[in-house]
Amino acid sequence: MFDADPLTDSDPAVGLRAVRALRELADRLERLQVERARALGWSWQQIADALGVSRQAAHKKHGGEDREGKG
């Protein structure tokens, strides 16, 4: 898709941009996965365990997107 130029790849500017993009990508996938898990009936505790965070943390981060507000 893009040329993998070893010179550019060793450039910290590219590496740092990549880290930022990976965070953004991970955030988006997390939102989508949590939303789907909730729709499939997963509890906040199950989601939190899978993400390796506390139930409170998972609910605080994603609870606002949960219309039914249960769990």
């Binding site: 898709m1 941009r17 990549a18 993009a21 953004e24 990508l25 988006r28 996938l29 939102r31 997107e65």
Partner: protein, 177 residues
């Protein structure tokens, strides 16, 4: 400070939040204020005269943004964004990744540079003949801050940034709102 903003400048500040949200950014930066100004054409056509269009500003904002997914940078570490997107489309439905990026709801805050734009706009107003902060002063504020993302966008969308600055300075000096 907002009570000193003329109606159009105030609307542009409000629109800047929309610009940030639509670009998938979580904070309001100088580039978003620039985007709002050019979208409204509320800068007395100054930006348009220098070849700056909303479409171009928007494109550059997204390209340089942290909110937008940077396919090129991801490829550099071996992640194929197209493959991830195809997978996400299958599991969550068409356009899921983009949808998930547009979730910054509620009130967005200004970055430090974003706040500085408002301060500089106020300063430009105090130094000039008018009492209210107008869109031209706001544009002067945008162009005066030292912000890497803004500099990249301005140099990409404007044929002669120095000439634009000079025009804006002239407009500020002659402004009497």
């Amino acid at each position: 400070m907002f009570e000193r903003f003329a109606a159009e400048a105030r609307s542009a500040v409000v629109d800047a939040q929309e610009e940030a949200r639509e670009a998938g950014d979580r904070r309001i930066e100088p580039v978003h204020i620039l985007g709002a100004l050019v979208r409204r054409g509320a800068d007395d056509g100054l930006l348009a005269r220098h070849g700056v269009t909303h479409e171009a500003v928007r494109r550059e904002i997204v390209r340089g943004g942290g909110g937008a997914l940077d396919a090129e940078a991801l490829a550099a570490v071996g992640v194929d964004l197209d493959a991830v997107r195809a997978q996400a489309d299958t599991t969550f439905g068409e356009g899921a990744l983009e949808r998930a990026g547009g979730r910054s709801r509620g009130h967005l805050r200004f970055t430090r540079a974003g706040k500085k734009v408002l301060e500089r706009a106020l300063r430009a107003t105090v130094a000039g003949p008018g009492r209210e902060i107008g869109t031209v002063q706001l544009l002067a504020g945008v162009l005066s801050v030292d912000d890497a993302r803004l500099a990249a966008v301005v140099s990409a969308v404007c044929d002669d940034p120095d000439a634009l600055r000079a025009d804006v300075d002239r407009a500020v000096a002659g402004w009497a709102a």
